[in-house]
């Protein structure tokens, strides 16, 4: 009734090729953006920013990055945590070496550095596939964590091996360090996430995305129709690394403020982001957001219900939370292997026919 294509005519080519061709989708997108930019910054507090929104937005960027590599190009990576660490450590080195340059530029440069490193670790993908590639990226995970722990230069030889973000501002508004207002933290992440999502969405709709998907679906067939596998795979690694690096830089500078590579960027982080895209939906930008929301919000929500709402002991709640999240993940994988994005697609199909399904 509300959600339909009929009567929605495109009269120009740009109109026909826009991101959201259906009017209802488009308005929904504008409303989400408006709420995110114009409403939430005014009502957000420290708890909501630090426990929910900032991690959600940052993980969404990381999930978009991994989704491009794994979901669109079909190259499995278990090194996301370490690649985020590359972003975080580059950002730290840049922040401390060039304090007068804007943090925004540092974050983008960190993305660039990470892109270079990830491309390097992506080189084996030209010869090995599937599980073997996953193992190669696993090696990257352990090697990079070891490197950042071992070489003092990366953490400026601080006694504890921790890196901590100095105070930096954008247009006079502090965005890193302890005196950051909740809304400033939220907004800087939101701006990055919006830009990243728009870039990713358009890349994946364009010729580059089509090449990635051709490689994912069948690399020999893709080669026969003229896709250069080296170019396609390495660009996927590069673009993915760029987003993951930005996520890592924001994760360290805006969200944590101080980080330690083994704990903040360990193997569990790689798995967390991988779960996000599997649950959210492989090969879908919306799925990256949905998966990040699911993995970030569910533990916080369960904790608040069990401990805050029901007053159960914290250890019981923590164990139950593992059981419930684990159970939900298995349930999702069995009932909807294509993730939350597929549920959303189905809901839209149903909405198109509603209220006359026959």
């Amino acid at each position: 009734m509300f959600y339909r294509e009929s009567g929605d005519f495109s009269t120009t080519y740009p109109e026909d090729s826009q991101t959201f061709p259906i009017r209802f989708d488009r308005y929904r997108y504008y409303v989400v953006l408006a709420v995110a930019f114009l409403v939430i910054p005014f009502i957000i507090n420290d708890y909501w920013a630090n426990a929910v929104f900032v991690p959600f937005l940052i993980y969404a960027i990381a999930a978009i990055g991994l989704n491009i590599l794994t979901g669109y190009c079909g190259q499995v990576s278990l090194g996301t945590g370490a690649f985020m660490a590359v972003g975080a450590y580059s950002c730290y080195k840049l922040m401390t070496a060039f304090p007068e340059i804007s943090i925004v530029i540092h974050v983008i440069l960190s993305g660039g550095i990470t892109a270079a490193v990830v491309t390097l670790f992506g080189l084996p993908s030209l010869r090995i596939k599937g599980f073997y590639l996953a193992v190669a990226t696993l090696a990257a995970q352990f090697f990079l964590v070891w490197l950042f722990n071992k070489v003092g230069w990366f953490y400026n030889y601080s006694a504890s091996g921790q890196i901590s973000a100095p105070e930096r501002s954008v247009f006079g508004i502090i965005v890193t360090g302890p005196n950051t207002e909740a809304w400033a933290k939220y907004l800087i992440c939101l701006v990055f996430v919006t830009l990243c999502a728009i870039i990713a969405r358009n890349l994946t709709r364009g010729s580059m995305g089509r090449r990635w998907m051709a490689i994912r679906d069948m690399d020999i067939a893709a080669e026969i129709i003229g896709v250069n596998p080296m170019g396609a795979k390495l660009t996927a690694f590069m673009v993915s690394g760029f987003f993951v690096g930005i996520a890592g830089a924001l994760f360290f500078s805006v969200y944590l403020g101080a980080a330690e590579v083994g704990e903040s960027f360990g193997i569990d982080k790689s798995f967390l982001v991988l779960f996000m895209i599997i649950i959210g939906g492989l090969g879908s930008i919306f799925g990256s957001f949905a998966g990040a929301a699911f993995m970030v919000l569910l533990p916080v929500f369960l904790k608040n219900v069990f401990v805050g709402g029901l007053g159960w002991p914290t250890d019981l709640a923590a164990h139950l939370q593992f059981i419930v999240s684990g159970g939900l993940i298995i349930m999702f994988l069995i009932m909807e292997p294509h993730g939350l994005a597929q549920l959303w697609r189905l809901a839209k199909e149903k909405l198109r026919l509603w209220p006359f399904p026959h």
Binding site: W48, A51, A159, S160, E167, D315, H319
Partner: protein, 425 residues
Amino acid sequence: MRLLTMATAAIMAASPVMADLVFPSLSYRTGPYAANGIPFADGYEDYFTLLNERDGGIGGVAARVIECETGYNTEKGVECYEATKGEGALVYQPLSTGITYQLIPKATADGIPVHSMGYGRTSAKNGAVFSNIFNYPANYWDGASHAVNHILDENGGDISGKKIALVYHNSAYGKEPIRTLTELSGKHGFELMEVAVDHPGQEQKSQWLQIRQQRPDYVLMWGWGVMNQVAIQEAANIRFPMDKFIGIWWSGSENDVLPAGDGADGYKALTFHNLGKDYPLFDDLQKYVVDAGKAAGAGDQVGTALYNRGMYAAMLAAEAAKTAQGIHGTAEITPAMMRDGMEALEITEAKMTELGLPGFGPEFSVSCENHGGNGLGAVAQWDAGAGEWNLITGYEASDQEVIGALVEEDSGAFAAENGITPSCS
């Protein structure tokens, strides 16, 4: 789902701030560090329960402990901090060096004190720079110095040419003593060998093989959680002499030595408070808390090393709250008043006797210049036959000449990095 979350948070935000003294307990009863996290959290909570049941709170105001599970994970720790600070939290004791590093800038900006008792950032001892961070009565660098002093005593004051290995948790926590040990190795002429163990430390075969090959004269350990048990077991397996194996106070609980059985006999660990339950306070604890069925957790940890430490932490917090009530003349103190109370805290033998804990810890006093107390510590040794820890030395001073300079240097660097002007006004 998001709606539901918002609803829960709205309920949480709407509940009024009650007029009691809030002591958040960022505990961990799950994960690889739970074996050490549980007794500490139990001791911390039980002491406040005792105060509420026996004395009707602190200065007539009930103490409320809000427990929040961190799993020794910094991200969850930050979430716990944000979730509890709105309740009027008076002091944070995260029992994790990683979380402490996170909270140092945040809590300072929010004006809430942090007490990292025997952990955290060592240079927080300099209160002129770290206005809201306290680490009395002793810190890691004191610990490193105590261990070296103990080795000096055993060797008649000369350890030049000896080889000392440091087995450490490869994190901010484990790396903390390296600076001091490097400095001390130059001063006393011993050779320092660094052996890192990655989180969580369940696999240490290669590290102990290295120790077996290089035959250090002594092994020091900065371990936590499951890493302790594994290290002590591995040391027993390679027949490393246990009395040459010295752990920091976080590597000295019953849970760490019991798995190795008789093999752990003679293992030494540092401590900054006394052990066992032969104190009058434990009778009250039994009567008002344990027998009344109000003990935290399973209630089976009373009197263990880490339970005592949790209780000691709670006792110091309660005493600081009393001091703050005295200074500001009001029973319902704020975090800022609590900070003043902690800065003016003085623990004397008379006070400890009055509390039912005679000789439980060293005497010390806190001031703005010194947030770290006197840095006294003792060495305890495990007696596997009797199943108990025994203090084999008194509370001894650490090498303040070396540590003082390092504290000055490190806190100065922090102040310069963060634009803080050190002041004690």
